[in-house]
Structures are given as C-alpha cells and as structure tokens.
C-alpha cells in the first residue's frame, strides 16, 4: 500500500459527528466531538448519560438488545428514534468487507458529504479534505425493533453487521455498579477482544461436556435419576438418562467465564467481586492491552469508586492512549486532571456546546461547580452572589440550589464578560448578573442581545449604588445597622474618615456631610474620589469590605432592598431576569416576590 493512502487512513475509530433524534430524554442533539477525550459536563438530568448510552448503542457488539418505550423521547414510540454518527474507521474494522460494500463519504470539516469536486467548493460550504468517513446509524422503529445501518452516499441504507461493530469495539464503563461485562468472555467485551481466540469457547465447551456430571451425584439423587429413567422407559419416552452441560439459546459459555485474580495469599477470586473502582480501572487496562487497534471508550461518572489520586491517574492514562473517549464526571479533581481533554457542557435544553478551555479555565479551577450545575448564573462578584442568592431564595419555588441552580462568582466585570461571551458562543443557556462599570458597553449590549432576559445588568453603576440610590431619605441611616454592633461601628468609622472627623456618631456624620446618600455610596463602593494621597486612596478602597462587598454583605443588601421599600421600584427591572431562571427550571412566571416588610 502506498504511503499516500496510508496517510489517509485512521488507526483508531473516531466519531466526528453525532446526531441524536428522539432518544430517551434527548429530543434532538447535534454534536461534533473532538478526536481525543471529551468530557461532558452539565447538571443532573440534562442527558449526559443518554449521550453515552447512544454511542454505546450505536456500536453495540450484539444484536440482542430489547428496546422499551422509555428509550423513545417522551415515550412517543410511533415517531421512532435515530442515533447517527459520522465516523472515521480503521481498515481493521472491516467496514468495507461486509456483504454489501459500504461506500465512503468525504468529511468537509463539519459533516459527511458525497465527494466534493474542486469546482463546487463554494457551493458545499466546505473544502475537499480527502478524509474518508462513513455514516452509521441505529434506529428504533415504531415497532420497538432496532436496526443498525450504514447510510450510503446515495442515501440508501444497508445493514451494519454486529461483526463490524465488534471490530470497531467500544469499551463501556457504565454507571451501573453490577456491570462487569468487560471482565467476562462475553462477545465483544474487552476480554474477548484481548484474547481474540475464536475457537476458545468451542474448546472449553468440549472439555466441559466431557465431565461425567452423573458421577458426582449423591446416592439419593442417583436413585431419583434411576427412577426417572425407568419411568420414562415405561412411558416409551427417551431413556438412558445422563447429566451434562447443555446450552440454551442466548446463553454462551463465555458469559460464565471471567477473570480471576489472587486476592490474598493463594485465594483466587473473580475480579468482578473487587471494588467498583478497581473493576473499572482493570477493564480499561484490558482494553488498552488489546492487540486490536484501540477502540472508543465511554465512561459514565469516571470518579465512581475512585479516590482523587486514582481519578487523576485514570484520566492521564486515558489521555495518553490517544484514542477517542467520552466521559462524564462530577469530580473537580477529574476535570482539573484532564488538561488535554475537550470540555463540553450540556445545558438543560439539550444543547451541547464547547467550553473553551482557555476562557473557562480560571472559573473551572475556582468554582468547578459552575459547569456541573443545571443552570449556572455568573454573578460579577461576591456582592452580586449574595444579593442574587438572597433574592432567589425568595423567588424560586423550593430551594434553588436543590434545583441545580448555581450562582457563581465571575471575579469582576471584565472576567465575567469574557466568560459569558465564551459560554454563549457555544449556544449554552447560562445566566449573568453584572454591574455597569462603563467599560466595553458594545460587547455587553451584544451579549444582552444573545442572552436576552438571562442577563441582568444594572443600567449604571453597581449593585450598592443602585440600591442606595433608591432608599428613602429618612431611612438611609438604616443601611448602617447590623446585627453585630461592631460592624455598624466600623461602617460609621469609614464614613467619618471620609469626612475627616473623629466623631463617629451618626449625628455628627449627618451634620458634617452635605450629602449623606453620596457619602454612603462612596463608602459602600470603596470610592477613591477625594482622597488626598495614595495612602488614603488605598485605605478608602478597602471601605467596601465593611459594607456589602462580600457574599453575606450582598445578602444583607438584598434584605435591605426589601425591608427599606426599594423593591417596588426595581421590580420591573429585576423580574424578567428572575422569570428567565424560573423558566429554565420549568417554573411559571411570577409578577412579584413575596417579602416581609
């Protein structure tokens, strides 16, 4: 074979595109995963496991799969389901050796197309890559039947044999605790592929059938056998009875054969009885040791049964294999270890989008839960986190955290903007809550256009300013009040300092200042305006911390918004945002938030 051709061929199977229609909880999903490790993140029930199940079903090594109504989206069996993948396959898959020839498609960078001729590059929107791909699909029919098919470039379909699927090979570690398939000699299992001995089952079967089982019968059992034999003979039924291993349909002797290993000195136990983590790591090692070209690995909840150090080890060894893998995880240790992996986020609406590593890395490290939530809101800073949490406690039915809503600290205005842009670029449903610092207004308004009500930004200034501005004049002093008298005293000090007086009593401060509200805003936001030198400016900028610049401070600010009668004025601004979050959770729109005060 010439070098030119060899260069065109892949050595490992890869899914370049995955399309799921109406399979289980996913109505529709269209995804171009990357060639290495794909880590799918997202909140509970978003459908991460369904994606893995879909891949596993498409490459299932056996035909003996029984569908149920639950495999169909909304149990609408009559509409069927389709899982289709565009794949690159090595010659060892023998995709081209089926009875009917499988014609290759060409990969145009985003999909499989019939061979592109150079002249119509523009028309097709892609360019000729010369990459040979195949379109495979599995369909669930309205009759609950399952068909594996090859889609030909002329849109005809032909059978995709179990043999080819077995050659492609999929290593599946499911979340199911009892699953030890790959440690057994089941058709298409990792152990089966490793041993690659086609005659083994027959030879074992022959030896087993040679065992004289009847010789092991107890005396009573022997008598019972003899009696039965006599009876059958008298009734002119088959007689001359003996016992032997007989197979029944669907049961292979291989299923009874599994790996054993020394547990303690000399005691051999089935590997299947080891802990979940050990079993999974062993199964992966078996797959990796296989002579056959590496396969596609699918692992649900990679952290299962593994301590963080073993999670890191597993992720690193998977990454080193160079074959494609699909992984779900809830483990921050696992995500952080996967430095070569592509991160994907599946949002509650069934959209999957890339989490660009460079842009989400900081957020990922600081708050891994951002990408494990069902609906994450990136709030600009601690004040906003506290403020929003307090508001959501009032506005969401039940505990918002239990619903999978996570309010995350976006670490400042520019970082929040970057992150939100990266996330919405992937078409994902995230929320955002930010100040208006007067910077990058063009980018913010572009973001607002894509995010709609899911983004809330104060029209001018920050949260503190927005609230304090609206507090009735006669109640301004109540902003200082705090359960802890020490905190209230410190707040008065920040005010007095700014006025240059030593008297920190409220009366003195009010008397000295010409504009009490402006003074409060300046202190609460840590404004440096009017500072006489750098030393002073530095000190003043820390004043915010005494007020609301913390998560608890943000909560206090929200409480005061309700208590001091500010809410009615802000209601119309904030409610659309609240309702956007409620909508993501499937909760009905509300017209007001109930509060005391």
């Amino acid at each position: 074979m010439s070098d030119y051709v060899a260069a065109q061929q892949t050595e490992t199977p890869r899914v370049l595109k995955l399309k799921i229609e109406r399979f289980r909880g996913l109505q529709s999903l269209d995804w171009n995963p990357s060639c290495g490790m794909n880590i799918v993140l997202g909140g509970g029930d978003a459908g991460k496991t369904t994606i893995l199940d879909a891949i596993a079903l498409l490459f299932s090594p056996t035909n003996s799969i029984v569908l149920s109504e639950a495999d169909y989206w909304q149990r609408k069996v009559e509409e069927g389901f389709v899982i289709q993948a565009v794949v690159e396959l090595p010659a060892s898959s023998e995709i081209g050796q089926q009875q009917k020839f499988a014609w290759p498609w060409e990969w145009n960078g985003s999909d499989a197309v019939p061979p592109i001729s150079d002249e119509d590059d523009d028309v097709q929107g892609g360019s000729s890559s010369g990459k040979r791909v195949y379109r495979l699909q599995v369909q669930g029919t309205a009759e609950l039947e399952i068909n594996w098919e090859i889609v030909q470039p002329n849109d005809e379909t032909d059978l995709l044999s179990a043999a080819v699927r077995r050659n492609i090979g999929i290593v599946r570690l499911s979340g199911d605790d009892r699953n030890d398939r790959d440690l057994r000699l089941v058709y298409g299992s990792a152990l089966d592929r490793l041993l690659a001995d086609k005659g083994l089952r027959a030879r074992i079967g022959k030896r087993v059938s040679e065992i004289d089982l009847a010789a092991y019968l107890g005396d009573d059992a022997k008598t019972a056998m003899e009696k039965l034999d006599a009876t059958l003979k008298a009734e002119a039924l088959p007689s001359g009875l003996d016992l032997a291993l007989t197979t029944s349909q669907g049961l292979s002797i291989g299923a009874l054969i599994g790996l054993m290993a020394d547990r303690d000195s000399g005691v051999s136990l089935p590997l299947a009885s080891w802990g979940a983590g050990t079993r999974r790591m062993t199964a992966l090692q078996i797959a990796a040791a296989s002579e056959a070209e590496s396969s596609i690995t699918v692992i649900d909840e990679i952290e299962r049964g593994l301590e963080p150090y073993r999670q890191r080890k597993l992720i690193k060894s998977l990454q080193a294999q160079g074959s494609q893998s699909f992984v779900t995880t809830h483990s921050a240790a696992a995500i952080n270890a996967a430095d070569d992996a592509s991160l994907w986020y599946l949002d509650g609406a069934g959209h999957i989008g890339a989490l660009p590593r460079a842009k989400v890395a900081r957020q990922q490290e600081r708050d891994p839960e951002t990408f494990l939530a069902r609906f994450a809101v990136i709030a600009e800073g601690p004040t906003e986190v506290g403020f929003l949490s307090s508001m959501l406690e009032r506005a969401i039915d039940g505990s918002f955290a239990d619903h999978g809503v996570r309010v995350c600290n976006g670490q400042g205005n520019p970082a929040t903007l970057d992150l939100l842009e990266a996330l919405t670029g992937g078409g994902l449903a995230f929320g955002g809550f930010a100040d208006d610092e007067g910077h990058a207004s063009g980018r913010w308004s572009a973001l607002k256009t894509t995010m709609g009500d899911r983004l809330f930004q104060w029209t001018a200034g920050c949260t503190e300013e927005a609230i304090i501005k609206l507090v009735p004049k006669d109640r301004l002093a109540e902003l200082i009040a705090h359960n802890d008298a020490g905190v209230a005293a410190e707040r008065r000090i920040t005010l007095a300092t700014r006025l240059g007086t030593d008297d920190t009593s409220l009366e003195a401060i009010i008397q000295t200042t010409g504009d009490f509200r402006a003074l409060l805003i300046a202190a609460a936001t840590g404004s440096k305006d009017g500072a006489t030198n750098n030393e002073v400016a530095k000190m003043w900028s820390r004043h915010g911390g005494r007020w609301f610049k913390s998560v608890t401070g943000g909560r206090e600010l929200a409480d005061k918004m309700f208590a001091l009668g500010v809410w009615p004025t802000l209601r119309s601004d904030l409610l659309p945002f609240i309702n956007a979050i409620r909508a993501a959770l499937g909760q009905a729109e509300i017209t007001d938030i109930a509060y005391d005060g």
């Binding site: 051709v5 081209g96 014609w103 000729s128």
Partner: protein, 504 residues
C-alpha cells in the same frame, strides 16, 4: 514465456503485471488459478475479476466456484455503474444510473466511465476503500477497455490494489478506426508500465487438432504484423478451404446448389459447430440458408428490445406510434412480418380504431391491433407478441409464414409484460441472464462479436470476403473468428470480392 513463468510472475509482489494472451492459450485457466491462489492467501478482502462480457464472467465463475465467497466476478461496466450509483449526487446523475444508461444507450456507459474515472482520480479515498475490499484485481480482456475504463483500474492500482491484466491486442474488436489504434497504443503503454509476460502454449487444441492450434498462432503473428495469412502452402490438419460465391442479388446470402454441397456437408456432419459471420444481417440470411434448422446465437445483448422500449416510451401511450415501434421490432427479430405483409395494415387498423369489418388475415391483424388500442404500453406490446405466437402455433390465417430469428429477444419482450416498469423489467431480465450464464446451442449461427470468448469443436466462417479489410479492426475480427475452432476450421472464400487478409 512458459506457463510456469507466467504463473510465477502473477504470484509475485509486483504491483502491476500485464499478460498478453492469445486465444486458446489458457488465459482463463491462468487467471482463475491465480485468483484461487490469491484468494486463499487473503486474510481480508476479495479477489475482484473484471471482465468485459457476461460470457467471460461465466467462464471465471465456473473455475473459481470453490472460493466463490472470496472472489467477486463482474463486468467492468457494472462496477462503474455501481460506483456511479453510490455517488450519483456528486456526479450529478439520476439516482439509478444503470436505468439511465440503458435508456441513453452505449454512449451513456462511456460517459459514466469518464465521470467515475475522474471521481476516483480526484478522490483517492474512494479508490482506497475499494482497494481495501479488493486487494487483488484481475482484469480480463483488457484490450477492450476504453481509456476511461482503464483510468478506473489505474486509480485502484494507485490506491494499493495489486493489478493483473490479461488481454490480447489482436482480439480488440470493440474499437474501430482511430480508437482501435489508440487502444493498441494503450496496450503498449501498459506493457511498459508493468511487468510483461506472454502466454504461448496453445492449450485449446491439445485435445483437438494441435497442428491447427499452431497454425492459428502463426496466423495471429502474421495479422499482428499486418501481413496476410498465407494459404498457398500446405495446410495444417483441420483447416479446410471452400470456394463459394454469394449469388444473392441484393442483401442476403445465397449459394448455387453445386457450391453449397461441401458447405452443407460441414454443417450436417458437425455435431458441434459455430457458423461465424462478420455482420449482423448476414446471420439472418444464413439462418434462412439452412431453413432455420440452425438457431441464431443471440448472446447477451437485446438491441431490438432496447429500441422497442425506447420507442415505446417516446410513444407515450400513443397507439399509432407504439404500433410502428412494434412493426420495427418484428422486422428486427423475425421474417415474414414486414410492413407490406402485415405492418402497414396493422398500423392502419390501430389508427382507424379497428373500425373496418374484416375477415381472414385482416381480421387476425385487427385482433392484434385491438390489444394495442386497449393497452397502448409495454403490456399491450407483450400481449400482442404473445397472441402473435399463438397465431403462429395455430397456423392462423395469414400468420403461417412468420419465422422468428431472435427467439430469446422475442421471449424477453413478452416477459416484460410481467413488469410494471419496462426498464426495471429489462434490468431484471439482464440480471437473470447474467446469473443463468446461457451458452449457445451445440450448433449455432453467430456474429463474430457474439462468439468472442466462446470455443467450439468446429467453426465455419463465411463469407471470408472483402468485409475483412486491411484495417486493424478487421484483422482482429478475423483472428477472433479463426481462433474459436478446436478441431476443424472451414473458411468459405469467394472468388470475387476477396479479402486482402488471405494470400491465395
């Protein structure tokens, strides 16, 4: 080169081996043996044998039966059509290029070969996928491959398939004129591009007449060089020359009673005989000469039927146009149903809605016309032909003298009535034919084209007249004709209008 030497070359790792194989030198045997050896060595994939004719497919199928799961045998055109069907979108063709090509005629196959050749050249991944399935490709009768067909094989070879081509430039009878010259040039190019070997042992005559076999190889060498065949010296055992002149006044072939005696003797005394003639219309004339006691070998093509379907489709349920197509078809496959004897009246009846009262022969013609009027489509035509058959069987008035020359074609036209779509029917009948591998009867009249690839104990070639001209095409055609005979070869040479290819 010895047979063993050729076999060793075929077995070698050389990516490209070209074997020149004169007729009867064990080409099919060598090819099939190599296919068996190669197939048993393959761990995956199959050996692909590509031929030009269905007859050759049949020959290979017979000798590779033991490994049929690992050997795929088909015509090069069918492979090209299959590729075109898979990629019809990229090639901007209708979804069923096979039906399209049948409808368009031979030119369409050339177009398909051209497009598929370009597709494979510009998209090596398609060729690579095919080369994985077929790591070994044996191309038979490659001298008949067009430049475009050849480019398909080149693409597969470049994608890694091991290519073995067999051919005989002296049996290239599908290209004429300039095309024949460039086909010859391509063969020479192939010879220098690959490793070249030539089969030289005349196996076909081993249990026939070996001397005749040697003489045929010598004749081949002469024709190849552009020399005439020398008939002046002593003739080998098995070769007979008969002088006879065609005395038909117009078209046709007729002999004086005296001159046909020795020819009749050959026809009568040979239990296995191919009567070979250079032109289509001569087959009918020869059938008439022996009073249709010797059938015409129709081969695998059905040209009149193709024409009937095309004309029927153009008629678009117009009964008169359909009636005309029917008359045309009858003219091609039978004698005794001419426009003057039946056709004109038949068309007239259809155009006048069978309104005239008639008796006897016209009444029978009217019966046929009614069928067309009732069903002006291929079903009506089929029923009409079936009824006409009944008329002949029952010697109905006016239908006693009709003789069917092309019985298979006539039968197939009736069978088409069982199909909803005539093109599907044509395809299906063609498919059945290629699976059934029909062979000619023991004694048959055939054109040289249809006899290509066949062999027979005795061959009678007539007339060996000026139709065999000096052109490369004619020389090839003559060589194909003479190389069919295993035991005896009889040449009927006219005194007038003699061929320049014989030195007498």
């Amino acid at each position: 080169m010895t047979d063993e030497g050729v076999a060793a070359l075929l077995n070698s790792d050389a990516p490209f081996v070209v074997v020149e194989a004169p007729a009867g030198c064990g080409k099919t045997y060598q090819g099939a043996c190599y296919a068996l050896r190669a197939a048993s060595k393959l761990s995956t994939g199959r050996v692909l044998i590509l031929t030009h004719t269905h007859a050759a497919c049949a020959a290979f199928a017979k000798s590779t039966r033991t490994v049929h799961r690992k050997v795929e045998i088909r015509t090069l055109d069918s492979l090209i059509v299959q590729i075109a069907a898979a990629y019809h979108k990229a090639l901007d063709l209708p979804p069923d290029p096979a039906a399209w090509a049948r409808r368009q005629g031979n030119e369409a196959y050339a177009t398909l070969a051209n497009q598929v050749g370009k597709l494979l050249a510009s998209h090596p991944f398609v060729a690579a996928a095919l080369a994985e399935r077929f790591p070994v490709i044996i191309a038979d009768e490659h001298q008949d491959a067009s430049a475009d067909q050849h480019s398909v094989l080149v693409a597969l070879r470049e994608a890694g398939a091991r290519l073995r081509i067999f051919g005989d430039p002296m049996q290239g009878i599908y290209a004429r004129g300039n095309e024949a010259t460039s086909a010859r040039a391509r063969w020479e190019e192939n010879k220098s591009a690959g490793v070249f070997a030539e089969l030289q042992t005349p196996h076909r005559w081993r249990d026939g007449t070996p001397a005749l076999g040697r003489w045929i190889l010598e004749a081949r060498a002469a024709l190849k060089e552009g020399h005439p065949i020398d008939l002046t010296g002593s003739l080998p055992q098995g070769l007979t020359l008969i002088n006879a002149d065609n005395c038909a006044s117009g078209r046709g072939y007729r002999l004086s009673n005296a001159e046909r005696v020795p020819i009749d003797a050959v026809a009568r005394n040979s239990s296995e005989l191919l009567i070979l003639t250079p032109q289509n219309d001569l087959t009918e004339a020869l059938a008439a000469l022996w009073n249709r006691s010797i059938p015409i070998w129709e081969g695998h093509t059905r040209p009149a039927l193709d024409q009937l379907i095309t004309a029927g489709e153009a008629a678009d349920r117009n009964p008169v146009a359909l009636a005309n197509a029917f008359v045309e078809f009858m003219g091609s496959v039978a004698t005794g149903f001419s426009p003057s004897s039946h056709g004109n009246r038949f068309v007239q009846e259809v155009s006048q809605n069978c309104s005239r009262t008639a008796r006897g022969k016209p009444a029978n013609i009217q019966k046929l016309a009614r069928i067309i009027l009732d069903e002006p489509d291929h079903n009506g035509v089929a029923k009409c032909l079936a009824t006409l058959s009944d008329f002949r069987r029952d010697s109905a008035v006016g239908f006693e003298g009709i003789k069917i020359d092309y019985r298979s074609e006539y039968r197939d036209a009736i069978r088409l009535g069982n199909f909803a779509d005539p093109h599907d029917g044509l395809a299906e009948l063609g498919r059945r034919r290629s699976f059934a591998h029909p062979m000619p009867p023991a004694r048959a009249i055939s054109t040289i084209h249809k006899a290509k690839g066949l062999q027979c104990d005795n061959a009678l070639i007539l007339p060996c007249d000026g139709r065999f001209s000096q052109t490369l095409y004619s020389r090839c055609r003559l060589y194909v004709a003479i190389s069919r005979a295993k035991r005896s070869l009889t040449l009927v040479l006219p005194r007038r209008n003699s061929s320049p290819l014989f030195l007498t």
